[in-house]
Symmetry: C2
Subunit: 347 residues, 2 copies
DNA sequence: ATTAGCACTCAAAGAGATAGAGTGCTAACG
DNA sequence: CGTTAGCACTCTATCTCTTTGAGTGCTAAT
């Protein structure tokens, strides 16, 4: 593979991304840093086509990059733009600071991405896998009705109402609260399991059968905590994309088919995947640009955009990269929102 | 206005709703309960057009109802279908029972409506205007960090983390909890106001200045409670509608322009409004079918669908009507989920 | 190895031509 | 007088045919 051929491939991708039309040998020859005639370019393009990097929509049309062509361009040829300082400042402002709740942080990042790229943004929340349960409270609020409050060290607070068969006495509630505190306080969210709660139901039932709904309630709350949530925002932008199949987009908006697999399989660092490469993903001709953000050095969630394959990678990749780095930084400084249970001052 | 002409107008609407094509005099004359020739119908249709009830996309095409035509059809001509018992049972099942939280109830209704009608569903939550605050708890969860828990008699539970300047002693927390309990317990959500909280901040600050963030936190939670929330679900269905302008639909999905005004202006009972009649609403050629549900005899929120003007009113209206009635019934029986504070058994 | 020149291809855009659904009007009918 | 059959007329949708032009591939010259 000739050096000039690579240059031509890059030029074709750039031009196609810019105009959206198949690009011909003439328009390439007129570019600044190309100093060969259109005939030479035609020959090279024919070779690039044979190698599978370009294709023609039909004879006598210009060339369009194949996804193999995009792949080479992204992995080897492209040099991403630098993000100007003022852009960085703008993004910082949109994101929030270290006091911004984690959920809001990724949500803000998603909003920023949709506005800048005019594509759909996709984010997953940070599963607080490595945070621990710092407090469980059971608060009576009415006839046989109790509210369970579950708080983790990373600042998630979940609540749930729970109706029992009988009212609990002061002692019964005390017993239960102590039991739960002893068994769950300081336990990491990741190690919570269905079996664990089954055991607790058994233990608690031995004392008083009608307590078991409370344990079940806590179990359900902990499931909420562990759940990886996938949010796609601005998906309506995909409908304005000429190159995406409307039916496929509508289906994707409804079911988000294949997206979580795509994200799970991604390794760290910025990454670009094409709908056509992966048959579990619903939208052909689409491109997914994602990166994972980290918290405490561990992967915590993903952030990126879904758009047409013809998208300005040079421009968009730096945005996604910067945002994930920034989120990682903010989440780490943010680790001590709610301190570990040992520090809690009991009233 | 001739009786036969009305019959013909109704037939045109029915046919147009069924087929989606402009309807001609011949197809009307072949209908069962029409016993005049196509020529007669042609004459009548010409009159209906002059009166503004019908229009022709172009000469030598059939007629299509104008929105004035739809209006007359809906208000006077149409007889809604009866909802078969099995449909009612299915809806009952989808909705939930009296133990289902109110939010979920309306959300289930929205899901049911999108599935049945293939239109977007719109719901507003029940603002718990007439329910009262039954409990406020402040729970220490870490260094200078407190979680506020606000519970109302209708079962809403809201929480919020709050960071103070200093840690509170047992006595200080006790003082605060008692003060809040005394001033808010049993107060109706509707009567909560900014000024009220301003006074409380002043009173509490006299005791200890650094308590004021807690009051502000409670104030913010109460704002959450009072907020009317508008949810549109299944809005992607609108994009499959031929007769709606895609750009307008996308704009609507993004901003929900004019919808809350439309809903606020609605009076009780089932109601149909057209996008074309109301210029604040974003989607031309659209139709909004809503009804308000009630709680304790008072209007509590709205429920309905947004679709193209060409929609099967005879079929859909009974669904919306039945669902609002059912929700009203469930919400009333549901009024005592969390009993008033006097009934609370303190541990 | 590169380039100019030229014949060739193919989609997109435009120009008629045709078919058919539906109308409006007129004259006949009960 | 309201209703109806008959007929000429209109207008769109669809098809085919032609034209246009961008872009190619090949060949021969540099």
């Amino acid at each position: 593979m000739d050096d000039r051929k690579l240059k031509i491939l890059a030029a074709v991708v750039d031009e196609y991304v810019r105009t959206g039309e198949p690009v011909g040998s003439k328009s390439i020859s007129q570019l600044e840093n190309i100093n060969v005639s259109s005939a030479t370019i035609r020959n090279d393009m024919a070779v690039l086509e044979q190698l599978g990097y370009l294709e023609q929509p039909h004879t006598s049309a210009g060339r369009v990059p194949t996804f193999k062509g995009y792949r080479l361009y992204i992995d080897e040829l492209m040099t991403p733009h630098d993000l100007p300082e003022e852009e960085k400042r703008m993004l910082d402002e949109m994101l929030g600071d270290k006091d911004t709740p984690e959920e809001l942080l990724v949500q803000n990042a998603a909003t920023a991405l949709t506005e800048i790229t005019h594509c759909a943004a996709v984010v997953t929340n940070a599963v607080p896998r490595f945070s621990v349960i710092s407090k469980v409270e059971v608060i009576p609020t009415g006839k046989r009705l109790y509210v369970i409050l579950l708080i983790t060290s990373n600042g998630s607070i979940k609540n749930k109402a729970c109706r029992l068969e009988f009212d609990l006495s002061h002692e019964q509630l005390d017993f239960f609260t102590h039991y739960i505190e002893e068994n769950l306080s300081g336990v990491s969210v990741d190690s919570l399991s269905e079996e664990m709660f089954d055991k607790m139901v058994a233990a608690v039932s031995a004392y008083m059968v009608s307590l078991s709904p409370l344990v079940k309630g806590i179990c359900e709350l902990s499931e909420d905590l562990r759940q990886q949530e996938l949010t796609v925002s601005g998906s309506e932008k995909l409908l304005s994309c000429e190159e995406l199949d409307k039916m496929e987009v509508v289906k994707f908006i409804e079911h988000k088919d294949g997206l979580s697999e795509m994200l799970e399989n991604a390794f760290s660092g910025i990454q670009v995947k094409f709908g056509s490469e992966n048959d579990s993903f619903a939208i052909g001709n689409s491109s997914l640009i994602v990166s994972k953000y980290r918290k405490g050095g561990k992967e915590a969630g993903s952030l990126g955009i879904i758009g047409p394959m013809r998208v300005d990678y040079k421009k968009i990749i730096p945005y996604v990269e910067y945002l994930t780095q920034k989120i990682s930084a903010l989440m780490d400084s943010d680790d001590d929102i709610i301190s570990a249970p040992s520090d809690i001052q009991e009233p």
